[in-house]
Amino acid sequence: MKVKNIRIAALFATLPSLMFAQAGPDATTIERNNQPPASISNADTNNANIDASDAGAQRPIFLKTENISAFAGFDSKYLYRNNPFSAGDKLAYFETAMWLNTAYAGASFQAIEVQDAVITPYIGASYTKTEYLESGLDGFNFDSTSAYMMLSAQHSNGWAYRVGVSYAMDKSDVNEEETYMEFYPYIGAMKLHGLGENLMGIFDISGGFHDSTSDSAFNISQKNDLDNIDVTASYALQYLYQNFIISPRYGATYKTYSEDSPSTNDGREDLIHSLSLKVDYPIDEYIKVTLFGSYSKRDSKSSFADFDFESADGGFALGLNTTF
């Protein structure tokens, strides 16, 4: 794994913070798949409208007989991002449209029912192609591969606990060299609660250790500079309006980098706020279109460089998924 060739020298001349730790896109801010899509792990709520009776309506169903249920899907996102390389200085922003295409597949295994919980094992993998559509930035296009295995335990107290480990790898599209790789053991807990007939609140907290190997810009720092422990807490609402699912979300992530000197991230701590709004419109059981927008802000404490940034994006997505 080698340092990525910098194709546009002018870009780095105006991005001093990127020169040291973030050659191109910031690997620590990339969204990565480490759990199955919500449509796979959450219960179906589509049901017949039936009048009440004493015993209740008794609608026959048929259950899976296989021990493994597979799922697969494809997401295509087209978005505009005003600061794709997480630059601290607004003068250094390279606004661009982006196109992200993700293919994913996975499987859930037969749930294990214990006294007060249902435990479900999942495995999955995905491949994402990220393209910058602004002329001159295509040298930063990259492909990401991720895989995970996860145990999810839904407890009768309403909390869903998860533990897992994921693998992620980014590879430059230009020279096909690996620029970032990590293993990420993590734990998390989520609780859904109803706030009204069509409104649901979702609290989620998770944390883990990013054991990474990355390109170090200009070879002045170490390969595991980006190792960090992170904790993320988020609260989201999910509102069902006619066929639209409207989901605003706020999340805060705290990261503390674990590599000591001479790492350029020695003593670095990040606090990342993110605010997003997503509107899903399921066309049918397999296809949905999504409009989304988000804003994120990083406040960083570092003695080496300024890693603060703000970034906003907005776009739309088409998602296809199926289960077997």
Partner: protein, 235 residues
Amino acid sequence: MGAFLFSKTLDNSFFICSYSLGDSWIFTKAEEGNKLPTQLEENSTLSPSTSLHTKESALCEFKNDKRIIRIGSHSVFEFNNENVINLTRGSMLLYLEKPSDITIQSDLSKIRLVGKFTIIIDCTSNGGFKIIPLEGKGKIIPDQGEPKDIFRGRLTMVLGSPSRLGNAYDIDLLLLLKSSRLINSFPSALPSMKRISLSIYAQQLSLKGKFNALIGDAPTDENLQMWAFGEGETK
């Protein structure tokens, strides 16, 4: 008076009415065999060899320290002792806090339920029952034939005398939960509500599809009514 009520609550040979909606009557068997009806009210006591008759739209709930019994409308309910319950008409919900061995009998059929569970029992016109477990573990033991495990969401027919187990059908627990007055139409939630929710979650994980039909009454042992509905009615 308070001490009297307290002692009755702890005595398992009595059930105290904790909720009553609509018109229900307790028939007490007098020495000469005549039944003297009294209207059911909250805090009424139901004792062995009394019977409860609920009218249209009525609902009621009885509690003792180990179980909760909810009775639906048009039901006739009585108990010989705390472990032998007669349900000759209508429907009931039974919640057991501790493992127990309960016999449910109609004029025709009889079934033993062993375990710890929340279950709905619905009388059918053929004199049998539909047994619908919502959560828990245990066995359904007929007079004849092999017992079956209690499995959440699996409706099992109880037929004839001596009783035997008929067909079993997995049914949509989420729809049942939304539409059952025995679950929803009471001021206090069942203590097992969280475990019922977990049953629904587990069922949804293994759900492959739903039939556009509802199970109805069983007028004979050979016939079970099914009410079909169209695709457009499923949303």
